[in-house]
Amino acid sequence: MEVRKFILKRFIEIFIIFFVILTVLFLLFRLAPGDPVTRMVDPTLTPEDSQYLIAQLGLDQPIGLQYLYYIKNFFTGNFGNSFHYGVTVSSIIWSRLPNTIILFTTSILLSAFVGIFLGKIASWQKGTKTDTWMTLGALVCHTLFLPWLAMLMIWIFGFKIGWFPLNGMISPKIWMDPSSGFWLKSLDVLHHMILPLATLFLIHFGSYLLLMRSSMLDTLKEDYILTARAKGLEEKTIRNKHAAPNAALPVVTSVGISLAFSLSGGALTETVFSWPGIGRELVFAVSNSDYPLAQGSFLLIAIVVLMANLVVDVLYAYLDPRIKY
C-alpha cells in the first residue's frame, strides 16, 4: 500500500469516528433527564439574552433541525456560552488548548523515547540484574496511581524541598512585570511544567519500556537476526540496526492505542497541578454543571486524541517499508 493511500484511509476512518462521537454526544445531551434548554442556556441570563442564544443554538426547533444546527455550530466553532465564565466556550477552549498540547506532547515524546531506549537495553541484558531491576522499576512506576503521585511530587519537591512551584503554569509576578522578556517567561513556564511533566513521564515511560523490551525479545527470535549474526556483524549493530527498528513498530502502534489513556492521565495531572488545560476545564465544568463548557472541552479532547492517532499512523507508515512501498 502506498503511504498516501494508507493515510487517506485512516483520515477518513478517523473522520467517521469523530462524526459518530459528535452525534452520540448530541443524543446524550437530549436524552439525559432534564430540560436540554436549561442545560445549554444559562438559567441566570436575561430573557432576551437567553432567547437569542436559544435561537442561535436552534433549541426551539424540532430535533432533526436541532441536529443540523448542532453540526453547523460545531464547524463554525460555536459551542454556546460557559455558565461559569460567562464568555463563549470556544474562547476558553482556544486559550486552554496550547497548554494541554505542550504538556501532552512533551510528556508522550519524552516517555516514549526514554522508554524505548531503556527497553532496548533491558532486553539486551535479559536475565541480568540490570534487566530485573529495570523491569521491576517500570512495573512499579507504571502502576502508581497518578493523582497520588502528583500529590506526592507537589508535597516533596514543591512543599518540603521547595524546588518547584506548588501549582499553576505561570507566576503572576513575572508575567505582570513589563520588564521580563520572552526567555524569562518561558523559563518560568518550564519551571512550572517540570513537576507535572515528571509525573506523567514516570507513569508512562514504564509501559513503553516493558513493551519495547518484550517486543525486542520477540524480534531477537526472528530469522533475520540469526542472519545478521551469521554475517558476523557486531552485537551492537545487530541490536541497533536490525532488531530495534523492527521491535519499535509494535511500540509505535501501542503509543497510538494508549493515547486515550494518556489524555485521561493528562486531565488528572492538570487538575492536581492546576495546569490551565482542557482536561482540567472539563473536570471543572463537570463538577459545576457547566454543560456547554463540558461538551465543548470533551469534543476538543476527542479531536486531540484522534489527531494524535493520525500522527502516530503517519509515523508508522514512514517507519514500516511494508506500507511505504
Binding site: 512543599f159 518484550s214 463537570v286
Partner: protein, 314 residues
C-alpha cells in the same frame, strides 16, 4: 494499529482443548507460573490485600466509632496522627483511617473484579462472534471497538456523570465494563480467526454442529485462558478508573473507596500536613494494581510469550 495485526496474530499458537482442558492446563500452567519471580510477588501482594478485605468486617464490630463511613471518634474533631487508638490516625472529622483503608480494599476488589469480569465477558463474546461470523458483523463490531478504544474512558464517564447525575458504584462498574471490552475482543477475534482454520473446527462443522455449539463448545475453551489473562489487566484498569473518578469527586458517596480518601485529603487541604493520611490510600491503590499487573505478566509467559505485545497499554 491496523497494520501488523495480522502478522502478530498468526504467531499465536493454539492447542486444541484436551479432554480435561482446564485441569490439565492449570497444572501445567502453575508449574511455569511458580518459577516466575514477578508472578510470585504479585500473588503474595494479592493474598495480603485479600486478607485486608476480610479484616474490614471486624473493626465496626469492636466499636461503632470504627465504622469507616459514619463512625466518628467522639473525642476527636480534626485530623490526628497515628495513635494507639487509631493506628493510622483519623481524618478531618475523626474517622479512623485504617478502617477506611480496609473498607476501601473491599470496594476496590469488588469494583475491579466485577468490572473486569463483565468487560471480559463482553469482549470474549463479541470477539468470538466477530471472528467466527466474519463479513459485515466482523467489520461493524471491530469498527465499534476501534471507536470505543480511542475514547478516554475516564473522561467519558465524567461526561456521563455530569449528564445523568451522581453515579452509584454499580453504574460506575457497568460503565467501565462497557468501555473496556474492545482491547479484549480484538485479541479474542484474532485468536478465533486462527482457530477457525483448525481441523477440529472443520470436523465439528462437518458433523453438523450448530454455530452456537461450535462457538461455545469448541472455540470458547481455547480462548478462555487468554480471556483470563486479560482479566487481570482489566482489573487493574477498572480499579484505577474508579479511584480516579472518586478522586475527582464523582464516586459513589455512600461508599468509602481509596480514591475517595485521597479526595478528602486533597480537598480538605491536608495534603501537606497529614502524610499519615495521604500515603496509605495511594500506596494501596498502587500496590493492588501492581499485584494484578504482575500476575497478568506472569500468566502471559505461561500462556505464550508471543502474546505480549498488545497487553501493556492499560
Amino acid at each position: 494499529m491496523t497494520v501488523n495485526q495480522s502478522t502478530q496474530t498468526s504467531k499465536i499458537s493454539v492447542r486444541p482443548a484436551k479432554r480435561f482442558p482446564t485441569i490439565e492446563r492449570l497444572k501445567e500452567g502453575w508449574s511455569v507460573y511458580k518459577e516466575n519471580l514477578i508472578g510470585k510477588i504479585g500473588l503474595t501482594l494479592l493474598v495480603i490485600f485479600a486478607l485486608m478485605a476480610v479484616c474490614s468486617f471486624f473493626p465496626p464490630l469492636i466499636d461503632p466509632m470504627y465504622h469507616p463511613m459514619t463512625g466518628v471518634d467522639p473525642l476527636i474533631t480534626h485530623s490526628t496522627g497515628p495513635s494507639w487508638r487509631h493506628w493510622l490516625g483519623t481524618d478531618f472529622i475523626g474517622r479512623d483511617i485504617l478502617c477506611q483503608l480496609l473498607a476501601g480494599t473491599r470496594i476496590a476488589f469488588m469494583v475491579g473484579i466485577s468490572a473486569a469480569f463483565m468487560s471480559i465477558f463482553l469482549g470474549t463474546v463479541i470477539g468470538m462472534i466477530a471472528g467466527y461470523a466474519g463479513k459485515i458483523a466482523d467489520t461493524l463490531l471491530m469498527r465499534l471497538a476501534d471507536m470505543i478504544m480511542v475514547m478516554p474512558t475516564l473522561l467519558v464517564v465524567l461526561i456521563l456523570s455530569s449528564l445523568f447525575g451522581q453515579l452509584n458504584i454499580w453504574t460506575i462498574v457497568l460503565l467501565i465494563a462497557l468501555f473496556r471490552w474492545p482491547g479484549v475482543s480484538r485479541v479474542i477475534r484474532a485468536q478465533t480467526l486462527s482457530l477457525k482454520e483448525r481441523p477440529f473446527i472443520e470436523a465439528a462443522k462437518v458433523t453438523g454442529a450448530s454455530h452456537f455449539r461450535i462457538i461455545f463448545r469448541h472455540i470458547m475453551p481455547n480462548v478462555l485462558p487468554l480471556s483470563l489473562l486479560y482479566m487481570t489487566f482489566r482489573v487493574t484498569s477498572a480499579i484505577i478508573i474508579e479511584a480516579a473518578l472518586a478522586f475527582l469527586g464523582f464516586g459513589d458517596p455512600s461508599t468509602v473507596s481509596w480514591g475517595m480518601m485521597l479526595q478528602w485529603v486533597w480537598k480538605t487541604g491536608h495534603m501537606f500536613q497529614a502524610p499519615y493520611w495521604l500515603l496509605p490510600p495511594g500506596i494501596c491503590i498502587s500496590l493492588l494494581t501492581l499485584s494484578f499487573y504482575m500476575m497478568g505478566r506472569a500468566m502471559e509467559e505461561v500462556l505464550d510469550p508471543r502474546l505480549r505485545k498488545e497487553v501493556a497499554q492499560e
